[in-house]
Subunit: 218 residues, 2 copies
């Protein structure tokens, strides 16, 4: 006898496929998965305690966003980006992020800058602890905290799909580099914000974005 043990409490929960989607999306964006990592419907289903159907919807959604790659036979893996593709995605970041930062600049008050400061300290700690996932997470949170103030949800949405595509690559990059020194540009970003200097902010964001990814080029 199979109990209908769905729908537990009193308030409706998000659908299973959405829960799976969110979990996987975070894993990909934060670099918890290496490039080329294979994902199977039954494996994902087992991991989240659901059947193949919600797992399939989550994977379909993520591949549509570029977070995952679909092979010719329908197999799903995390993307292994070519150098050209990495370069192009970095250029897209260099196009979108200064624009978002500039739009946020007018609305950025002191409390926001303080919050970014705190996130940046967590970022520095992650570097000291050699924790790539936490480094990526705090780095993205630093940027997103600023861009949320731009009030440009569509542009931020596009940018997040770019971050998604770069997730596994960033993991591979930062575990290889094993950097021990904090990225210098976050300080420049904060200074430009405090000074209200649009041109300086755009430049600092652009260099912060391109700097991190350019190490892979050879």
């Amino acid at each position: 006898m199979i109990e209908t043990l769905n729908r537990q409490t009193t308030i409706s929960e998000p659908p299973a496929h959405d829960r799976v989607y969110r979990g996987l999306r975070q894993q990909v964006m934060h670099g918890e998965l290496a490039p080329g990592q294979a994902l199977t419907l039954r494996g994902i289903g087992k991991q989240y305690g659901v059947s193949m159907t919600p797992a399939r919807e989550a994977l379909r959604r993520l591949t549509a966003e570029g977070a995952l790659t679909l092979s010719a036979s329908g197999r799903v893996t995390t993307p292994e980006l070519s150098n050209d593709r990495i370069e192009e995605l970095a250029q897209i970041r260099a196009l979108l992020e200064p624009e978002l930062g500039s739009r946020a600049l007018r609305r950025a008050h002191l409390a926001l800058i303080d919050r970014m400061e705190v996130i940046n300290e967590a970022n520095a700690r992650a570097i000291h602890l050699q924790d790539p996932v936490e480094y990526i997470r705090t780095n993205l949170e630093f940027h997103r905290t600023l861009y949320l103030r731009a009030q440009s949800p569509a542009m931020l949405g596009l940018l997040e799909t770019v971050w998604l595509q770069l997730g596994p690559t960033m993991r591979a990059l930062y575990t290889k580099l094993r950097r021990t020194t904090a990225p210098p540009h976050h300080r420049l970003i904060l200074e430009a914000l405090r000074a209200g200097d649009d041109a300086a902010l755009r430049l600092a964001l652009r260099t912060d974005v391109t700097q991190g990814l350019r190490h892979l080029q050879g």
Copy 2:
């Protein structure tokens, strides 16, 4: 008795969910669907002669790209964009398209410009015939033909998701305006291409993009 009449010829065909996806995507992007149009799983399935499963995957994929909107109860419709959202999407186009055009400029040879000229004539015919779908289709093809030369697949992919989101809105716009005169900027784009003038091309693309969408603002 149910025949296993799948897998027809000798070479494997694309999966059913992909066929459904492509069909719907084209309908949305070319403005064949009005904003707020509701789509149901069983309806789509019947329309394409498949079950709910492939229809569901196609809709999930399209909503992930922003081509369709998901209501809180899981219902799927074509998006009804607010004026703010339309404005923002136009600004994204104004950011991406000059960049793509500029990248294509170096690689644009005469045959490409001739091809764009032909497409532009088809576009003018569509205006004369008051055919909004054909107008949108040829207009996008005009731009895409240029941007393909940029060899920036990721950036073009992002742009196409923006076009997708604007599809139903563009239909509503151009059926309301009933414009009878060709957009003047396509000629400027072609002239800038022939002259190899980067600044002029960027400007022409930007104004062409913002011009078309700004009529909705009140």
